[in-house]
Symmetry: C2
Subunit: 362 residues, 2 copies
């Protein structure tokens, strides 16, 4: 029996507590080199399309295995990407595949039998594993008495960043800044209802970073926006992306951990049309471009979780965690937890395994 | 609608003629760097298993895209591998996943819309693409009047090696050698019935290689067995694996093409237990181990198909094609052909696309 789990199933089943617990085990394994994960393999081909010469098909694949959870996961998404104009700016967007919807799945395999256990929609689980990873880092790095949070960004990913922090610290007050007033006000209202913690929208980056114990950046900015002067003594900085903070701010941190330092991509299987390449370069050609930056000098979350590299050693230190790269093994660990819960609660659509099996092997 | 295609569907739909035609288009693209393929990504983890301390889970993934066919393919297999004793020798085997069956699938995506078009069992298609690739090379390299074939090996892969040659040349006589008399006699009988060409089992390697125009090696030998002296003037040598022929025999060839020279594996995501590593080394530590050999000095089938590097220029030359590595883009091109035929013939099980789609994208 293969279990087909939708985003709605994942949403019902998976708590942030369980997510962080699963990631804690996984990062223990990763730090001891007992779990494996492979860099993203992108298949990207420009399309011959007269209507839109910037359209390209983009099949993204990544995989990882967690022996502790006795599973391996393969995650992929298939998108047609293009670059429509928003005002004067071109932005890269993923067009819906069918019926206004997207295609992103996690295949979960048993390491004991090899069988396909589940096919899981990747949206909700992905957001949980990102939030959970930053939450796990905060548990090790933020001051024990950290209670005040300032967050930059009011999008989809910002939600789980806050639920994760509320899981690992006794958060009493949250400030949110994002450029659009309407967005930040709605986000504040929604998060207050969800977390039962006061959430205050603020008008400036300075306001968001002032008098807080934890600063979270949860934007999709490809340009650094957080200057070093906003990092006050004792603060913990939690970044969703490597491109959000200025180089000076990196230097200001006494203790800085990253997610992983392995290659990010395989570029050999990516073809860009000339124009698309130019547009990609505009977006990607900043100092944080993965391959241009020496990530190997920073310790990893796996080393932190295993105590191989010490975390915060004083209340006045500035600590930071940069979620610098996606780690496919997260889908294995958190996917295993979702699968276990789905079986207990009887959720998910059952597919006959037989159709996926063959009586020969090449 | 996602079409689920079994090995039996593929067997009914796909002819060798169509396979070679699809591969011809693909290798045209590969030679012009217009198609993409990524090296195999293996997730391999040893299992904590008291009954069998050599068992490991092995999730193999590879992908490729063919803009000419407007598809991308992701192929994966999930196996539990172990090393049972056969007499005094340990051999690596893939245990069945469930119900005595194995799990290997190809996911085929449209490059135009991004949608998942089909899920195809990989066994039959894989065998066809291997045979077809060697057949395509033979069409370009064997003498036009080549009519006599000597084949080493009588297994599953040997079948499509012969059907492919019969497609590209007017084959009149075939000799087969394999160490087990019963196997070679049965194979000869079966192939004679299938191809309507006389197939003669022979007792020695020398017999198989004598007075033939094409020599095929289709074994799973990890040690070279074909010496240079068996390559007579004008012969075309077609190898299923890089490990089958001696170094001297490589040197004897006037014209030698390989499948592709890209990295074979990603080793960063492979964990071997100590004992398993030793056993792997015994098997793999020969001169043809992919990463120890300089494949970049040989021209590729893509260059041959595009006429970038000339093939045979005289009837007395010894030519060779070594299928040195798997190419995932083959699954895209041949998969697209199978999909097209399945739609025409109404074969395959229809699955609702909706369950694979999500209304968010991470």
């Amino acid at each position: 029996m293969v279990l087909m789990l939708s985003n709605s199933d994942v949403d019902q089943l998976l708590t942030m507590k369980d997510t962080i617990a699963a990631l804690d085990v996984l990062y223990g394994e990763l730090g001891r080199a007992e779990a494996v994960t492979f860099p993203r393999q992108d298949l990207h081909v420009p399309l011959a399309n007269e209507q839109d010469d910037l359209a390209a098909h983009y099949l993204k694949t990544m995989g990882g295995a967690s022996p502790a959870f006795k599973v391996a996961a393969l995650r992929f998404s298939s998108d047609v990407c293009t670059w429509p104009l928003f005002g004067n700016l071109r932005r890269r967007v993923k067009l819906p595949v069918q019926n206004g919807k997207w295609l992103g799945l996690i295949l979960l395999f048993s390491s004991i039998t090899g069988e396909l256990l589940a096919i899981i929609q990747d949206g909700y689980l992905s957001r949980m594993r990102v939030g959970g990873t930053n939450g796990l880092a905060a548990r090790h790095l933020a001051r024990k008495d950290a209670a005040r949070v300032g967050i930059f960004g009011s999008g989809w990913q910002a939600v789980t960043q806050l639920t994760a922090l509320a899981e690992v610290r006794d958060i009493r007050h949250i400030k949110v800044f994002s450029p659009n007033r309407e967005n930040r006000e709605k986000f504040a209202k929604d998060m207050e209802a969800l977390l039962k913690i006061p959430v205050q929208p603020v008008d400036s980056p300075n306001d968001a970073a002032e008098d807080v114990d934890i600063i979270v950046t949860a934007t999709n900015s490809r340009q650094p926006f957080l200057p070093a002067r906003l990092l006050s003594e004792g603060v913990h900085l939690s970044c969703l992306q490597r491109s959000e903070i200025e180089m000076e701010a990196y230097r200001r941190c006494d203790v800085l951990f990253i997610n992983l330092n392995s290659p990010e991509h395989n570029y050999t299987s990516t073809l860009f049309s000339k124009r698309e390449k130019e547009l990609n370069m505009e977006v990607r050609d900043h100092p944080w471009t993965y391959d241009k930056f020496d990530w190997s000098v920073y310790p990893t979350l796996g080393q932190l979780v295993n105590g191989i590299v010490p975390g915060r050693i004083g209340d006045d230190q500035v600590t930071a965690f940069i979620n610098n790269i996606g780690v496919a093994a997260q889908f294995a660990a958190v996917g295993a937890k979702v699968y276990e819960l789905a079986k207990i609660k009887g959720l998910g659509q059952k597919l006959d395994s037989e159709m996926f099996l063959e009586d020969v092997h090449p």
